[in-house]
């Protein structure tokens, strides 16, 4: 097979200058066989089950990265929802111990994050769910690598407003670093490689390798080179670039799976941004033709981008999974963060943009003394969008003690700097009504 030097040059430019890399290799493992009625036995069984996988995971990823010459930014583990492991015990203190044990194991084996400290409560909470919820603030406040979510809404069952209200209280009890590892979600699929949405879902084999790609910088460069192209031509160019990015994910996933002797699961084609310059989805939107992300036209530009990424990525990978849309986490995307700090982005803009991507309201700072009612109502808005548009969405809010709107708080690393947004604290009686909002007609269409 011969390559034109320009073809080789194009790939080199992406890898060397456009921040094209693999955001995460996420090994998803069924941990339900470790369920035990006593916490000591549970921790031991969990360790015995996970260690053979963990011992091989990072070395395998490093071998593949070295062989291909491709950077893998993070190595992650996803476990079965911990709420299910807690069903026999039903005690929140056991949940905290599980989180701390997972954290230690991750650190020992060089795994950057562990996802799955989670529960599905979209129609109500079971014994294990309740134990996990009670434990959430302490479990995340006392760990560094554990991530989780509460799935409080689904197209099939509607929005659990009681769950939403409880989630708001839990978020407000978390330290900034813990809240950055937690989301309220809707319709979360079983094979998400991204945190905090990753968990080992139902219908999967015992272990499977899922891949998260990055590379918005590649697409930004393509768009900037086409200042006079009409939107359909631009869409086609984005699609072609997304194809190449997703292909790289497919290659790395297959190679890592082969190295581990495990099945390859899916590629999440969402091109994840990072706080680095030249690695921003919002920069793509601005390159499409916005003075600043958040300006009128933002929803249009995001829809164009998301659609092109999906269509390009769909052909590139044999199985597309996870969230597979577009991510606009505010703090984790340098250009989003800048717009938020300048006041160009509001919570309402983010809600509108959520209609055409799979993010929701992600990595936004709120004052530490925000009212639980206002936080719950904000989560409820996004959950309603997810249920009625039939797609996954999340809300990841970071309460900053003593902060006021406009303040910026640096979380460091991939989390970036969180801008605190204005969340009106007027009374919102809706939330105290409680109950579960019924599913919409999207549910009936499926029947």
């Amino acid at each position: 097979m011969r390559f034109d030097p320009r073809e080789i040059g194009e790939v080199l430019e992406m890898l060397l200058f456009r921040e094209l890399d693999i955001r995460a290799v996420t090994l998803s493992v069924n941990t339900l066989p470790a369920a035990r009625p006593r916490v000591g036995e549970l921790l031991q069984a969990l360790e015995e089950l996970l260690e053979p996988y963990l011992a091989r995971l990072k070395p395998a990823v490093e071998r593949v990265a070295s062989r291909l010459g491709v950077r893998v930014v993070t190595v992650r583990l996803a476990v079965s929802p911990v709420s299910m492991l807690l069903e026999p015990i039903g005690d929140w203190r056991a949940a905290v111990e599980v989180a701390q044990h997972l954290d230690k194991l991750a650190e020992k084996y060089g795994v950057d994050m562990v996802g799955g400290f989670s529960a599905f409560i979209h129609m109500g909470a079971s014994r294990g769910d309740k134990a996990l919820m009670e434990a959430l603030p302490e479990a995340l406040n006392s760990t560094a690598r554990v991530a989780g979510f509460l799935n409080v809404a689904s197209t099939a069952t509607g929005v659990n407003l009681d769950g939403v209200r409880k989630t708001a209280e839990l978020v407000l009890a978390m330290k900034p670093h813990a809240a950055a590892r937690f989301a309220a979600t809707a319709n979360l699929p079983e094979d998400v490689p991204f945190m905090p949405g990753a968990y080992h879902g139902l219908g999967l084999p015992d272990a499977v390798v899922n891949i998260a790609v990055s590379g918005p910088g590649v697409i930004e460069a393509v768009v900037r080179n086409m200042p006079d192209a009409d939107v359909r031509t631009l869409h086609d160019a984005i699609k072609r670039a997304a194809f190449k990015i997703t292909r790289l994910g497919e290659l790395v996933g297959k190679e890592v799976a082969k190295e581990l002797g495990l099945p390859f699961g899916t590629v999440d084609l969402s091109v994840a941004p990072s706080p680095k310059v030249g690695d921003s989805v919002a920069a793509v939107l601005e390159a499409i033709g916005l003075p600043r992300v958040g300006a009128p036209g933002s929803v249009f530009a995001l829809a164009l981008f998301t659609d092109a990424v999906k269509k390009g990525g769909a052909m590139a990978a044999s199985t597309i999974g996870g969230l597979s849309g577009a991510f606009i986490p505010v703090s984790e995307d340098a250009v989003m963060a800048k717009a938020a700090a300048k006041g160009a982005l509001t919570l309402d803009t983010l809600k509108a943009m959520a209609a055409v991507c799979n993010t929701g309201i992600d990595m936004v700072g709120i004052p530490g003394d925000a009212s639980p009612e206002a936080v719950a109502a904000l989560i409820a808005d996004v959950m309603a969008l997810a249920v009625h548009l039939d797609k996954p969405l999340g809300v990841r809010l970071v309460p900053i003690p003593g902060a006021k709107p406009g303040d910026v708080y640096d979380l460091g690393g991939l989390y970036g700097s969180v801008a605190v947004m204005n969340l009106p604290s007027s009374k919102i009686p809706l939330v105290s009504r409680g109950g579960t909002a019924p599913p919409g007609v999207e549910r009936l269409k499926k029947g």
Binding site: P5, E7, G9, E13, L251
Partner: protein, 77 residues
């Protein structure tokens, strides 16, 4: 010693066969591209990368080494 001589001497030392040499411009930077075969080499791609990067530093150039599968996957359907 020149750039080509410096790089090829590392390849020769490890019995790495040069299949093709071409050139292109990557983001305004002149780039030499070599397709090489490691099947008879006495080092793996990781070790070769380390030695070539070292040689690159000495020569004042950046050296990147990628498996051909990366190009096959990204540039061919």
């Amino acid at each position: 010693m020149g750039i080509v001589a410096g790089i090829t001497s590392v390849l020769a030392r490890h019995n790495v066969n040069i299949v093709d040499i071409s050139q292109t411009v990557v983001r305004d930077i002149f780039s030499m591209i070599m397709v090489v075969d490691l099947s008879k080499a006495d080092v793996d791609i990781g070790q070769l990368r380390r030695e070539l990067e070292e040689e690159g530093k000495r020569l004042g150039v950046m050296v990147g080494i990628y498996h051909i599968d990366v190009f096959k996957y990204m540039q061919r359907i």
